[in-house]
């Protein structure tokens, strides 16, 4: 019904509450609900208790937005907090108890040093079997990438093609954190590329990872039969899916198999009564380049082992077989962890309303997919969104 986002990046002057409030107001305005009509507020946030030393942000935000006495809850599910909050809003409306829910996701991560931010994200890992060793999310992604390369023949050149594609899209997105185009020479071919693009968690390099970002995004959800005269083409959540996997990577029989991604996407497709080939545009959780490739296979766009080749061949660019991350993805739009799952939905809504400039718009897009990847694939949510036919 309504969506909104504020530019992601380093927002030193803005507090977490500022960002949440501004994104929420944009969504309310977009929905034409500036003066109220919200039954409940769900706030997706992972780190305010650790980073800002502030808890119960939903209670603070519902007051700041003068939405009292609407219900309010904070929802924390790691980097999948955003999609979790939307799912809970969807279920609340589907239950019939609420008519309209405002979901706001946000994070302010640049308030602390890179060391602290990396540690904060790593608190998702198993405390005694993983975290104690200094493992980080890039570290888990590095170990996953090594296995994926060995099993499926993914190459560094394929990974680099994702970095280049998504950062190019970031230059076209006014909400993106990273607005710098990359050249293959600069980060891969040239002998100096090792200086520009050093190893971060090998075999992953610096430009294989998303930035640490501040930002917020919001959506207003309501039942379709409550929308009388929409000012914009309505977009429905036609299907959702959620699945979990083992906390530690080591306990997966095949650690390259992202079972939760497969199951979440299957559920979403079944509920929407659509297939992967019906999707016109997707926002996948590319916190690391390897994840865009692996997720594109696990959701069914490509066979296992074909995702990297498809990316290299341009099949995931605008105009390709299935355009992926035309927002720039987490890689360029940025990854304020609590905001990401909401921002993915906002970007797909803009696509399905046909509101984006032509250099980012999939022509006549009707169906979109989002995948929000929590932990290292241990809690994954997927949404299939559909433009309502007039």
């Amino acid at each position: 019904m309504g969506v909104g986002m504020i530019p992601f990046g380093r927002r030193d002057e803005d507090s977490l509450m500022d960002m949440l409030a501004w994104a929420g107001l944009k969504a309310l305005d977009d929905a034409g609900l500036g003066d109220g009509g919200v039954d409940a507020l769900y706030v997706a946030n992972m780190g305010s208790g650790i980073i800002q030393h502030q808890t119960s942000v939903a209670s603070a935000l519902v007051d700041r937005l003068s939405l009292l006495p609407a219900g309010a809850e904070s929802i924390e599910n790691g980097p999948a907090s955003g999609a979790s909050a939307i799912k809970n809003g969807l279920l609340a409306i589907a239950s019939g108890y609420y008519d309209t829910v405002l979901v706001v996701g946000g994070e302010k991560m640049r308030e602390v040093t890179g060391w602290r931010a990396t540690d904060f994200v790593a608190t998702m890992t198993h405390p005694t079997a993983e975290y104690v060793y200094g493992i980080t999310l890039p570290g888990l992604a590095g170990m996953f990438t090594r296995l994926y390369m060995e099993k499926y023949g993914v190459t560094r050149e394929m990974l680099v093609s994702i970095s280049i594609k998504n950062q190019a899209m970031g230059t076209l997105n006014p909400y993106a954190h990273v607005e710098m185009a990359l050249s293959k020479d600069g980060i891969f071919d040239d002998p100096a590329a090792i200086v520009n693009n050093p190893p971060a968690a090998d075999p992953l390099h610096l430009y294989d990872a998303c930035p640490v970002s501040d930002g917020a995004a919001a959506v207003v959800l309501t039942a379709l039969d409550k929308v009388k005269k929409p000012s914009k083409p309505p977009v429905v959540i036609a299907g959702f899916g959620q699945a979990t996997d083992t906390h530690t990577l080591q306990e997966r029989a095949d650690p390259t198999d992202l079972k939760a991604v497969t199951l979440a996407a299957q559920q979403a497709f079944e509920r929407a009564k659509l297939k992967p080939t019906d999707i016109h545009v997707a926002e996948l959780h590319d916190a690391f380049t390897i994840l865009e490739i692996a997720e594109s296979e696990h959701v069914g766009f490509f066979k296992k082992g074909e995702g990297g080749k498809a990316a290299l061949a341009g099949k995931t660019k605008l105009g390709g077989q299935i355009p992926i991350n035309l927002s720039g993805g987490l890689k360029a739009r940025g990854h304020p962890v609590g905001a990401t799952g909401v921002a993915q939905v906002v970007d797909i809504v803009w696509q399905l309303r046909h509101e984006l400039p032509k250099e980012r718009q999939v022509k006549n897009a009707q169906n979109g997919l989002t995948v929000n990847f929590g932990g290292f694939g241990n809690n994954v949510l997927a949404f299939v969104l559909r433009r309502v036919q007039e």
């Binding site: 040093t113 990396t118 540690d119 079997a129 200094g134 570290g139 190893p199 090998d202």
Partner: protein, 119 residues
Amino acid sequence: MKKKDIEIVAYKCKKCGKLHFPFHDRCMECKSREFEPVKPQGDVRLLTFTRIYNLPWGFDARYLIIGVGEFENGVRAMGRIDVDESYPLKTGMTLKPVWAPVRVKYGENVYGLMFEPKG
């Protein structure tokens, strides 16, 4: 630094035999709640690894090398790898597991699994 016995304990389901590490309250396979403790045995086969250069808070080092190893009795566990960054690590190679300091917390050593080259 004096090295200690490996303190990791894995858990074998008494009903179906599935091995778990870390601990689960119910078997991942058959949902049984009865386990027998199993000590990891022998050397480890390196399943995967990475060299991390962007470290989390709490480590005073230029890089960390971390891997997942499989013991000879099937227990899989993460550990630090005690080699120089240029050491030619390869998946599938055999390493020797030891119990050694892996980080310092409040001025005290915290012990954990460390994998070392054989010989």
